[in-house]
């Protein structure tokens, strides 16, 4: 998986592409940690538009930045979810946890 990041004002963005599964674990964690640890950043948006595949480990990984963001009082949201991503998120009822668009 590839992750591109950008920060504008207090908003940060992670644009992910490729397969989002357990192999993406390390790069995903390092990236969101760095963004959320930045004190200027108030929100983190995960853009899933280029994600070709995501499995249940990916869902598990999404919970980690969620927990960290909640603890730091920062906002986290998912955007541009593909239909596949939406389906996977819906089965797990993650729409109850995340702001998904």
């Amino acid at each position: 998986m590839n992750i591109q990041t950008s920060i504008s004002h207090d908003q940060s963005l992670m644009r992910m592409s490729g397969r989002f599964d357990f192999n993406a674990h390390k790069v995903f964690r390092e990236t969101y940690q760095q963004l959320l640890d930045n004190s200027a950043v108030k929100s983190l948006t995960l853009d899933l538009s280029q994600v070709e595949y995501l499995d249940s480990s990916a869902l598990g990984m999404l919970l980690q930045p969620k927990e960290k963001a909640d603890a730091l009082n920062k906002v986290i949201r998912l955007q541009n979810c593909s239909q596949l991503a939406k389906d996977v998120l819906a089965i797990a009822n993650f729409d109850k946890l995340f702001d998904i668009s």
Binding site: S56, I91, L97
Partner: protein
């Protein structure tokens, strides 16, 4: 470095030794090929400087022998020769030499070559050390896996899955399964089946399933309700597992006696209820977050209740089944699964064959789990019913007063407690602590839960037992019950238990009294006789299990005597 210098000419050897010592090396020597092998074995040098032309075993042969001795380690050997020919140079390398030096030896070139070799030796040593660490790691890992597998296999109780109502398949993608399937019967003979799918697969996922079976079995055996079990499972997983480790989970509860089925799906693919022709009668979509995401206080279990329809079957499975991929990157999918259900007797085999055929040589990339739960016709289930029906068919004795009390206790449960607690298992867990009571757990569970249900339904909630007959009776009744229970703000139930000695019997006397206006208990008993499908037969069963039973005139209080033991 420790260097072995080999030369048959003593003067050359002395010269070489001096040069090496000057460069700070430790030197051992040999004066011919044979001797070089002995010294090599004893001194284990890092590098060998080998003269080529020696009487007996020449340098090339000695070099080859040394390499064989040291194998699989590679020994750096530098040949020294006066013959600076191409042929010698090639032969030197072919014999396993690392480099070639020509006489007379130049100190600077010698030092440079040794330095170059040292870098290779250092690299080789580092690699060897890493390899050793890695090898140890692999061995340790294998051993740990062996132990883990043993523990997991012995922890998973599979005997509950042998239930005649269940057919199942479990097929892990790796050595360990991240899917879990458990089944058990409650004291009132309800069947509970749990299916779980932990994030990922392999050992890490399998570990996530440990708290599940460890929580599920004891709670079912104690008779807790599905929502209570679900909440506790969520709490245990949330508390024990790191963030990101969650378990999609579902429970199907079949109660053939009370004629209903309760289904809960948190994060798994939709479950299906199908009739004997394979038509989909009901679907049970995932309505909630998987276990281990929300903390205990935030998690409410939302289950669905449907009537027990003999001949129907519930189909539950993990996503590994419908996402099994063939070589054309197609998923097995729900459509294919549902098309395998036309023959009720062969469904499991038909699904297995269809999956095998679909996959061809491919292997599923995730754990595949599937279970079918039967709803047999009534005449088939009578054999599973509590065997006590004929056992205590003694004529009903009256409730006789006595002062011979061995112990007694009572509980007052207010409206909030009645709403939020699973009263029967909770009270029973206290009562069964007393000596001689535990072995009657199953029958007492039935008695207590029936009496408590009557006190709640007819006493506090004032549900008319006539609601239980007629079309759609079941749903009407449950809906009314649900609404009134939610609205209840006052009222109480008092449960008293005492162990008494009466004539030659040890008796557990239970009195259940509610704050309701009372109800026509005679009618409840009559209805019980008529209805086969619906609620109410329970009270008849209580009568059969107990030595005596007496309702107060209004119906708001009932006392039963249960014989624990006969004194000889």
């Amino acid at each position: 470095m420790r260097i072995l210098a080999v030369d048959d000419t003593r003067a050359n050897l002395v010269l070489l030794q001096a040069m090496l010592k000057r460069a700070g090396h430790e030197v051992v020597t040999a004066e011919n090929g044979e001797q070089s092998l002995e010294v090599f074995e004893i001194e284990a040098p890092d590098l060998v400087l080998m003269d080529v032309m020696m009487p007996g075993m020449d340098g090339f042969e000695a070099a080859q022998r040394l390499q064989q001795m040291a194998s699989p380690r590679w020994v750096p050997i530098i040949f020294i020769s006066a013959a600076a020919t191409e042929e010698y140079y090639i032969k030197g390398h072919q014999s396993g030499g690392a480099d070639y030096l020509f006489k007379p030896i130049n100190q600077v070139i010698l030092n440079t070559k040794i330095e170059a070799i040292k870098r290779i030796v250092d690299m080789q040593n580092t690699l060897a050390n890493q390899n050793k660490v890695l090898q140890e790691y692999v061995e340790k890992d294998e051993e740990e896996r062996r132990i883990s597998r043993h523990i997991m296999e012995h922890m998973a109780e599979s005997k509950g899955l042998d239930d005649p109502l269940i057919k199942y398949m479990l097929s892990p993608a790796e050595q360990f399964s991240g899917d879990v399937l458990c089944a058990a019967r409650s004291p009132s003979n309800r069947l509970y089946l749990l299916i779980g799918d932990a994030v990922g697969h392999g050992l890490a996922a399998a570990i996530n399933t440990i708290p599940i079976s460890g929580t599920f079995y004891p709670m079912v055996y104690k008779g807790f309700e599905l929502p209570t079990i679900g909440r506790e499972l969520n709490r245990r997983i949330k508390e024990t597992m790191p963030t990101g480790c969650f378990v999609a989970c579902g429970i199907v509860m079949v109660d053939p006696m009370e004629s209903y089925v309760e289904v809960w799906n948190a994060g798994l693919p939709t479950f299906y209820c199908i009739d004997s022709f394979g038509n989909v009668m009901d679907t049970f979509e995932s309505s909630q977050l998987p276990l281990g995401v929300l903390s205990g206080s935030q998690y409410e279990v939302e289950s669905q209740i449907v009537p027990y329809m003999p001949g129907n079957q519930i189909v539950v499975f993990s996503d590994g089944l419908i996402e099994a991929e063939n070589s054309e990157q197609e998923f097995f999918g729900v459509e294919r699964l549902l098309s395998c259900l036309n023959h009720p007797e062969n469904r499991m085999d038909d699904i297995k064959h269809a999956l095998e055929e679909f996959l061809g040589d491919e292997k599923p990339h995730d754990d595949v789990t599937l279970a079918l739960i039967d709803m047999p016709f009534q005449d088939q289930i009578s054999s599973y019913a509590i065997e006590a029906r004929s056992e205590q068919a003694t004529p009903q004795a009256g409730i006789e007063e006595t002062d011979d009390i061995q112990w007694q206790t009572s509980f007052h449960m207010g409206a909030e407690e009645i709403k939020n607690l699973d009263l029967t298992p909770m009270l029973l867990s206290v009562i069964t602590q007393f000596k001689g009571v535990e072995s009657h757990n199953q029958k007492l569970f039935l008695i207590l839960s029936e009496l408590l249900n009557n006190a709640l339904d007819h006493g506090l909630l004032e549900l008319d037992s006539s609601l239980k007959t007629g079309p759609d009776a079941f749903e009407t009744y449950l809906n009314a019950r649900h609404e009134r229970l939610a609205a209840m703000t006052q009222g109480y139930i008092v449960i008293s238990a005492r162990k008494i000695r009466l004539h030659d019997e040890l008796i557990l006397r239970l009195t259940i009294e509610d704050s309701g206006k009372g109800f026509d208990h005679k009618k409840v008993l009559e209805n019980a006789g008529e209805s086969v499908q619906m609620h109410g037969r329970g009270i008849k069963l209580v009568q059969q299990l107990c030595r005596g039973m007496k309702y107060s005139e209004t119906g708001s209080s009932v006392t039963v005597d249960y014989t624990l033991d006969h004194l000889v």
